[in-house]
Symmetry: C2
Subunit: 480 residues, 2 copies
Amino acid sequence: MSIEPQNTPVSEIDLERLPLDIARIHELAESLLPVYSQIEENLPLPDEAMNQALVELIELMHELHPADVATVLESLPQKERMLVWHLAAPEEDGEVLLEVSDAVRETLIETMDKEELLAAVEDLDADELAELADDLPNQVVYEALKTRDEEERAQVQAAMSYEDDQVGALMDFELVSIRADVTCEVVLRYLRRFESLPDHTDKIFVVDDHDVLQGVLPIRKLLVADPEELVENVMATEVVRFRPEDDVEEAAQAFERYDLITAPVVDENKKLIGRITIDEMVDVIREETEADMLNMAGLQEEEDLFAPVLDSVRNRWMWLAINLCTAFVASRVIGAFEGSISKIVALAALMPIVAGIGGNSGNQTITMIVRAMAMGQLSGMRAGRLLRKEVGVALVNGLIWGSVMGVVAWLLYDSPGIGFVMVSAMTLNLLLAATVGVLIPVLMDKFGRDPALGSSVLITAVTDSGGFLIFLGLATIFLL
Amino acid sequence: MSIEPQNTPVSEIDLERLPLDIARIHELAESLLPVYSQIEENLPLPDEAMNQALVELIELMHELHPADVATVLESLPQKERMLVWHLAAPEEDGEVLLEVSDAVRETLIETMDKEELLAAVEDLDADELAELADDLPNQVVYEALKTRDEEERAQVQAAMSYEDDQVGALMDFELVSIRADVTCEVVLRYLRRFESLPDHTDKIFVVDDHDVLQGVLPIRKLLVADPEELVENVMATEVVRFRPEDDVEEAAQAFERYDLITAPVVDENKKLIGRITIDEMVDVIREETEADMLNMAGLQEEEDLFAPVLDSVRNRWMWLAINLCTAFVASRVIGAFEGSISKIVALAALMPIVAGIGGNSGNQTITMIVRAMAMGQLSGMRAGRLLRKEVGVALVNGLIWGSVMGVVAWLLYDSPGIGFVMVSAMTLNLLLAATVGVLIPVLMDKFGRDPALGSSVLITAVTDSGGFLIFLGLATIFLL
């Protein structure tokens, strides 16, 4: 994005400026940290430079879009984060809380008192309030609900009754609905009575007297339709729609597949109860692929970059513990061959190569399959075909790379026997990696578990213990 | 999604049926494979059952949305894929080619002759033709361009002149633009003259006589505006807009941040030349996060699930080779301590534990940082803060898990010395993992490289060699 000359009326949200702004905010926040308590209590600052820094920081924060304020807060260490949060525009507090990650949201809410929180959620829609409710103190939720009317209270409670991974938790209630037996002209006049239309309105929902969904009228069609035409002749009746119990990841894939902007949510009687929008689905897609990545690396959930050390330890301990257990098993496998190693100490140096290439190759296979599953490409496929192909790849790789390392080991230790054991062990471990790399995600999926979860740790466990066993076993048989 | 009772007029794209359809298509395709050549040459099939299977398969394929046809094709082994592709509705061929992954697209195009390809691309827009052009034979592109008018030819060539990761390659040219000095009533009448509006039209671009962008008129505002009001009083002048040279990932992040549906693309003189839409950006977000995941696992690019074995070998060999080199280095580190191992053979069994936990912990750190970088959270941040936190986490984990394994090793080998070396080595290797886990992505980013690329292989290399060196070194000093 380019910098704007002065003579054009178009102002611009400048994406190139954002990283510079963030860097500047970091600097200012750090320089103001010594006078944090004065700022918090609105006391005068000791010198003019500090005052200028404070003014600049406040101005920068007020210029930012709430989504950018959220990014700034996520990127700041905790103390600076509190300082900057204190200076952000209070009327945007609610929006910012919606945008930040769960981990950071908690740290922000902790610093706010009841009045600040009530003010922050005052202007939020029912679905947004429901999204925050889990993280807010009960008293705040209770008082926030008191100020809403009956209908909104019911909406908040409905949205809160669904799990985070259900469409119901993400739907909003800002709907424009019409009857099928009116003309497009009437619809246009009706719309003009609104002060503003809901965000992302790309279609109007057509319902009968009992709010049962009849179809949708895309705005694109409404705009080009003959004003005298009836809605029922213009509307689309082939509608992708969702139930509040539907899985959000499946909904997001439907949005992606069918290029949707909004879609209706209906209850079991086809009654229209809400809608979901592409912006929520984009977040789902981002979170879904990231969760796969974090899970494969052994992180339980998205972590605040500057979480206190003990929070981080808690987020990571489980996979480390599992890793230690599997490493211990591998260690016992080696322990069983201590006799062989004490006779040929070269085995100790060569065995990590066999284990390592198996782990690497197995991770390639498993990542490819987890990805294909996430995209719905593996439904209905029999794993046999895939297994045959992966075994083929492993065989070729094993013979090529096994031979390379076999020759190296032979020359290094001047022993053709060691070279032969190396080729065989590497090929066998790659075959094991391919087999397990296909079976782990296929079986996890069959038993209804998330195939990404810990699959990397599992395959490494198998290829480590298996690699040591194969290599040391072959060596014991053929070299001793 | 639920099954439709008969009495409602709304038909439904049923997401629950899709996996079942795909499974059925797999079965049918497999059963028809023996008569592939008869089907290809439109010869009668040997028996009635086969005929019925063929009819069912064709019907199923013709009912599917092009995006779903693409998923079906990606999920089929190559021979079945060719059979099914041959039976798909030819009028949707172009759309399907746009939807499939690059790897699968190549296999489909290979089976089509010039006439089929020309028919497939005939109805595509200029930007879509440009997207396929790289994969089409030159002769087909040439002839397809001949049938287009001057303006479209220029558009195709413009789109083809940008790199895949530039906004220009993804923009489309279907624009509705108006002048600022007309009334909303005039705009509505103007729109009614269109047969249909471009997909995803959520705003109309306001330009001056030289096509210079003045602002945008959101449809949401147009619909509620007073018809007598001038466009210039209703339009938004704070516009997120892009240059064709902009990076698509940055554009996608802007779409995500600012909840955009479409955005204008302008040239260096602010002249409006195209627009980008949310559906393309959703694909970018999906591909970006997946590329990070594939890269971290050591796969160069998205792979056709049923790629021939040698293609897969080619896609994966580089990381395997790098992994072998790093494993060889680790092996030589161990080799340097063969003397120590031959004296205390328990060292050989314990050393993979030290290396393994370092690799696991380092991958946790690096994944978290790569993710934060992808979200723009690390711009302007000094790595020092983050490093201090990660070192803290490593110290806690090292002392806890090191002590656990230290006690286990002590009991197992009845040697407090081995226990002590274990605690120290695990703690030191975790500290190494934390330091390198922060430094690798920060340095890669500083030198303009993609921090996801191979970071997992790199950190494992360091924690393996480092872990062996620390553990065997300490053992040599304190136990011999």
